[in-house]
């Protein structure tokens, strides 16, 4: 069976691409899928750090591309999930150290050994973006409800449309309290502006800083509020119809319960 090859991109930096890739990937692995995460951010490697695998890197993406090692030698298996592994980016090279066709070939090869290949795209729309998109068949665009992130997301959506990739949207770092007071764009607003199918709403939660500090995927923490959020995104990727949590119009009581069983 052919693996799903999904690039996770945003245009703007710092909106949560790497955190999203790590946590959606972990959620898929926890649901029993074989998952390979590829860090396409050559020169600014971080996916390994977010997942706590930074000490185990031997080979990297560029060395695979240059034929200096096999893909399976460069893949780092996550000990916490048998079915999750990552291909780290090179830290001391530039974005042009690899070509689009080399990248596409690596994605192709990874797809033979996985159910899901998630590609963590670098910020921007230049060479790094073109590489990351080269082998992908689908895209997830991550944005935050801010004007600059949305404008950049729109630009990326245009580029992905040119490549005829199906696109889904994750609205990250939503502050429901600010949406209610009219100080933040709502998820409906963002979807309307970008005209892209929604696949996840991730509320802003300091918990994510804590788990990335420790290098732990959030789905491993059974008490984590965001755990169900990423699990739901994974299920929607599988094709399940999972209702979205309504963060916008909750009462105080609803909010209290929502905090307990957020999803």
């Amino acid at each position: 069976m052919a693996a799903r090859r999904i690039v996770i991109t945003s245009g703007k930096g710092g909106v949560g691409k790497t955190t999203t890739t790590a946590n959606v990937g972990a959620a898929l692995a926890k649901r029993g899928h074989r998952v390979i995460l590829i860090d396409a951010d050559i020169g600014l490697r971080n996916l390994d750090l977010v997942l706590g695998l930074e000490k185990r890197i031997v080979f990297d993406l560029v060395e695979v591309a240059e034929g200096r090692c096999q893909l399976r030698q460069a893949l780092i298996k996550d000990k916490r999930f048998e079915s999750l592994s990552i291909l780290p980016a090179a830290q001391t090279r530039d974005k042009d150290a690899i070509t689009e066709s080399q990248f596409a070939a690596i994605v192709e090869q990874a797809a033979e050994a996985a159910d899901y290949v998630l590609i963590d795209c670098p910020a921007g729309i230049e060479a790094g973006f073109r590489n990351a998109v080269a082998g992908a068949k689908e895209a997830i665009v991550v944005t935050t409800p801010e004007v600059s992130a949305i404008r950049d997301a729109d630009r990326v959506v245009g580029k992905l449309n040119d490549k005829h990739l199906p696109i889904r949207l994750i609205v990250n770092r939503l502050r429901p309290d600010m949406v209610r007071s009219g100080d933040m764009l709502s998820v409906e607003d963002v979807c309307e502006i970008l005209s892209v199918e929604l696949i996840g709403i991730v509320p802003d939660d300091e918990e994510i800083i804590d788990t990335t500090n420790k290098g732990e995927p959030i789905v491993l923490d059974d008490t984590a509020r965001l755990r169900m959020i990423y699990d739901k995104i994974a299920r929607r990727l599988e094709g399940d119809v999972v209702p979205f949590t309504n963060f916008d119009g909750q009462s105080l009581l609803g909010r209290l319960f929502g905090a307990l069983k957020a999803g």
Binding site: G158, D189, V196
Partner: protein
């Protein structure tokens, strides 16, 4: 609490401002990214106007400017000659393909009154930014309440 105070003083929530600004900036971005569409629109525009007056095709300029709450299209179409309006009702129909009646007439009248170079302005507002090749997928855009 704060939101009630803001509402009492009639302040526009900043999210509405953000949405409006984004709508405009994305329209401008999309236009800038689609020069071939503007070219084709320019051709059509000049074709329609040339049914009534002679225009200098080489010097036609079409620009977009942001106004307060809308994007305005400014077209500068130099007119080189205007035929004497013998039968203003029938002449356009005789010259052109069927049914240009309603829309081009005001242009022709304005030009007839002052037959020098004239700018036509139209304003685009209201509908959200349009983009070719992009379709809004039903059902995906509105988060439904959770159980």
């Amino acid at each position: 609490m704060i939101e009630w105070v803001k509402k009492m003083f009639g302040q526009t929530p900043s999210s509405s401002t953000a949405k409006e600004r984004l709508r405009l900036v994305l329209m401008t971005d999309h236009l800038a990214l689609a020069p071939e569409i503007i070219e084709s629109m320019k051709r059509d525009l000049v074709d329609v106007i040339s049914r009534y007056v002679e225009v200098d095709r080489e010097k036609v300029e079409v620009n977009f400017e942001r106004e307060d709450k809308a994007l305005a299209m400014l077209a500068n179409i130099p007119i080189t000659a205007v035929a004497r309006p013998n039968k203003p009702e029938e002449e356009p129909k005789a010259k052109a393909e069927p049914a240009p009646a309603a829309e081009p007439e005001p242009v022709a009248e304005a030009v007839a009154a002052e037959p020098q170079a004239k700018a036509t302005t139209s304003t685009m507002s209201g509908p959200p930014p349009t983009r070719r090749r992009r379709k809004k997928k039903a059902g995906g855009s509105k988060p439904a309440p959770a159980h």
